[in-house]
């Protein structure tokens, strides 16, 4: 995947950081990028944003539409975190991780992509923190993504 492109991670409402007074989204917890060990996940599920459109708003809309196809329920209070792929790979290399982002899209799950090479036991706190901060370009609430078509 080109280093200037982006992948989107769907973040559970329990892992979204909101301003305690205004309730506006400030970011996501590093734990939003943890692999589910109980399901023995080998890669982090994401969506390749440029596969939907070149335009930012349409990318978010494409991701939400793809998630609605894939998942039973997409919660309005959940969030979509937009990550720069080059940053993800670079931060991984700094932590000694051979990170790869692979296109796994198919007709049932357009734009689907996986981040491979992350510690399967979520032991690298710093890498997760970098994903949530340095690599995260934008976080948008699902309820802010207006056009759901």
């Amino acid at each position: 995947m080109p280093p200037d492109d982006h992948v989107a991670r769907y973040c559970n409402p329990q892992r979204v950081i909101r301003d305690p007074n205004t309730d506006t989204i400030k970011g996501v917890f590093p734990q939003a990028f943890e692999l589910r060990t109980n399901k023995k996940e080998l890669y982090l599920s994401t969506h390749w944003m440029e596969s939907f459109s070149e335009e930012n708003d349409l990318q978010f809309q494409g991701v939400v539409a793809a998630l609605r196809k894939k998942m039973e329920v997409v919660r309005p209070k959940a969030a979509i975190a937009k990550l720069n792929t080059g940053c993800v790979v670079r931060c991984g290399a700094m932590r000694g991780l051979a990170i790869e982002i692979r296109d796994r899209s198919n007709s049932h799950n357009p734009g689907y992509a996986g981040i491979y090479g992350m510690p399967l036991d979520n032991s690298d706190d710093l890498f997760l923190a970098q994903l949530a901060d340095e690599c995260c370009i934008e976080v948008r609430g699902v309820d802010e993504v207006t056009d759901e078509s």
Binding site: N12, P13, Q14, R15, V16, I17, R18, D19, P20, N21, K26, G27, F29, P30, Q31, E34, R36, T37, E72, V73, R75, K77, A78, D125, L126, L128, A129, Q130, A132, D133, E134
Partner: protein
Amino acid sequence: MTSLQIYSNKTPIQSLITIAPDSLALQLTPITSRKFIDSSKMPAQNWTIFAGHSELSSSPIKFPHISQRASDAKVSRSNVLSLEEQLFNNAADLKIALSEITMHLTPEWRKFIHRQIDFLLDLDNWQDDDSTFIQKTTFTTFLRFIIFTKPTRLPSLGVGLTGNILAAWYEGNQRVTIEFFQKDQAAATFVKQGMHSREREALAWRGNVADLKSFIEQIGMIGCLSSI
């Protein structure tokens, strides 16, 4: 021949139900030697049913006590709790734990934590595949940290994949996120602007929450938690 006798207050009433195995016929035989009792006026909980072979002395089958109160009757249901009930119970447990140390918190903090618990355990926000209940032991660790550190800024709370409570403080371009574990343990990450470069600096820390405050002070990020 098997018989079923219905008694009220140990007094046989109305009839015997007689089951003949050969014919599979049911017979209702009035007990003529006893005075008829209107069973409709009897409280249900006093009924005892004897079942057994008519020639043998049989032991009574005691039914569990059933209260006549309508409110109690509603409790009679399956032991399997719905998700909504489990979420309610989880929130109630946490609020009870909070009430035990409530004297150490300002009304603003108490109200805030109540609101955050309700949001995190809201059925409308629940995602079956990766939402989790909050572990009370980790919530207790969070409360200990709050009491000890006395932050003046409110955090944003979250829940990790294994039910650990999370807290995040933002101030300008600085961020502190903490995952609380049981037995006063915690893992924290700190992100801030580098002193001599445009690069962001990230730090990670693990240990006892009693040591966390001094670590945050050492790295100069206590302003994230408390306005100076």
